[in-house]
Point group: C2
């Protein structure tokens, strides 16, 4: 029996999105660039998907451009590579706990001479003072994760937008873990990245909202404003729009459910593990820190008991190393390996969550017993 | 009523591939990087898909690397960008009639100082003499399309492989229109690009076979040998393997059917239009040249009669300009705009093909009547 609590890594396609995908694959299979009935039909569905997705971003149809990519990581890559060409200042502000697709690219930029400032959290909060102070420097770009993938921590986006409003600083936000989990408005943001499979759309579909068109990082082609090559996956994109629309409609219900699941976990397990809570947090992600065992141990042991959880961002899976978010929160080095992420989705139930809580307690007791035996 | 003859632009997902996709999306939705049951299961299906696809390329499981991308165009981009870093010589050989994803990238390389030689056809054949002659120069890379997307013309791959065998020249082949249409062996090829949606797999899945690992063109990440970012679309890739496996099993039957469809078209319409035939040609593509009307006119008129065809490669759709393959074949400039491409797929029937032939005759007679009226 498998009980899946790794929705932040990837969410299975929702029933509605999958049904829609099947109908599209059967009936709307043309290449939207083709100037015939099948092409026009594909183009129509693509336009409608753009409209629905822009609506979820709080935009009307005519505002900005929506580019479809292969993943949230690719969206981040295109956004940053492209914005770099328009940067007025020579320095970049980011955080200490970004996704690899941002963090590793910025490391490359540093080797090429760009100065990168990495903000750390201050008492679990975004360090607005440090940020404001840095804005006096020659900053060309700010790139920050909207919702932290390991802990659900939420960036105070509105504050930052206000601070940047009258400065000519480009602003990119990695919204992969935010879309469909918390309300979003991309007003005042130059580029916002997200991904279909995190909200019940198909894998292999990412997207990037851009306020203005930007020069292409790829070859000069014809698809998608000349920015991204390849036949557009209209069935996948349309299924994404379906999943997202459904999600947005029921956002309040989802959030309420997720809060209830968190309450179950806290109530049953707080005597044994330490849950990470923030003033502003995505309800879809709830992580605890273990001082005695690393995240990998918990993941494997819980898997044996039939529960899939994560030891942090799936994109860094297979890599060991202290969790940067925990470092930023001031945890001691040993504990920084002990992050266990529980994440909820459309098919999570209170019953399964309760069973997961019991399993966590069983394992925690086993660890405690083991520690006591050894310390005797 | 729509009768689709634009399978070379994009092939609808086959019934088997779509059923498989649905089963995968429901049951194997994990991220293959995740170290838990859902992750391991996804990894197992990914490995099996790699095995099936390598088999279709005439390779055993342990040979080379298979990278999954978002499209054939992206595969071409990654292949060329990566091989460039390993080029020993400073010049490149290609043809006059490549897909834009290759042609436009090479134009960029030229601006950066790389010398690019573009071969033209000689009497409808690959110019082996000119090619052999060029090999005396400082050639580092040869990149050629296996099957021409506009005409079905087939590259004499084996001859070229033999000529390159003892030289340290890298060889990339764009096999997007070859896979599942003609028998393939990638022996002696450094990189071979292809795409799922051309053979009844899902859109948004491309692939690239590489003989040896190459440095990444993207950011230094962790997915797919550190070459391509993003959560791997295992359901899509597995459905691609399903479609391809089915196709390979029935390749002889498909080829026989396609040859029969060509015979129907030729028999009924040869008095009116000129079909492009070559000694070596993919049976899946059959194009004719019209001297009096451009391809766009034919495409629109046939669409009105319920038939979807193409006026050449869909990736250049929306762009006007003479067809490079026709130029390479020596057609006069006016005729180079008059390419009409018919392409066959799994769901083409003799009955529909016969109806298409009748429609072509109706339109051809209308053109002839119009020309006569005006020339009187």
């Amino acid at each position: 029996m498998n009980r899946y609590f790794d929705y932040a890594a990837t969410h299975p396609m929702t029933h509605a999105a999958l049904d829609h995908y099947v109908a599209m694959a059967k009936n709307v299979y043309g290449n939207p660039s083709s100037l015939h009935t099948q092409g026009y039909m594909a183009e129509d569905y693509l336009t409608e998907a753009r409209r629905l997705i822009k609506q979820a971003l709080g935009l009307d149809m005519l505002r900005g451009k929506l580019l479809f990519t292969g993943s949230g990581s690719e969206s981040n890559y295109i956004a940053l590579t492209s914005l770099r060409k328009r940067m007025k200042g020579k320095e970049v502000i980011t955080s200490w706990h970004e996704h690899d697709s941002v963090a590793l690219l910025l490391e490359e930029w540093e080797r090429e001479g760009i100065i990168v400032h990495r903000l750390k959290l201050k008492d679990g909060k975004f360090d607005l003072d440090a940020f404001t102070h840095l804005l006096d420097r020659d900053i060309g770009l700010v790139t920050l994760q909207h919702v932290n993938s390991d802990t659900g921590w939420v960036l105070p986006l509105h504050h930052i937008q206000c601070l940047l409003k009258y400065k000519k600083i480009l602003f990119h936000v990695d919204g992969v873990q935010a879309l469909g989990k918390i309300p979003i408005s991309v007003e005042g943001i130059d580029a916002y990245s997200f991904s279909a499979h995190k909200v019940g759309g198909p894998k292999g579909v990412g997207a990037l909202y851009m306020e203005r068109l930007i020069p292409p990082p790829y070859y000069p082609g014809h698809h998608q404003y000349g920015i991204r090559p390849g036949t557009i996956d209209v069935p996948g994109i349309s299924a994404f729009a379906k999943a997202l629309g459904e999600r947005q409609e029921q956002l309040t219900r989802f959030q309420r459910n997720f809060m209830a699941f968190r309450a179950i976990l806290k109530e049953k397990t707080s005597a044994h593990v330490h849950w990470l809570e923030f003033d502003e947090q995505s309800p879809a992600i709830f992580s605890f820190v273990s001082h005695q065992r690393d995240g990998q141990w918990w993941m494997t042991e819980l898997d044996d008991l039939g529960f899939q959880v994560s030891a942090g961002s799936a994109c860094r899976a297979g890599q060991n190393g202290p969790n940067r978010m925990l470092e930023a929160l001031g945890y001691e080095t040993s504990a920084c390996h002990g992050l266990v992420r529980i994440s909820f989705g459309a098919y999570t139930t209170a019953e399964d969550t309760s069973a997961l809580a019991d399993a966590i307690v069983i394992l925690a007791r086993r660890v405690e017993h083991h520690e006591q035996t050894f310390s005797r």
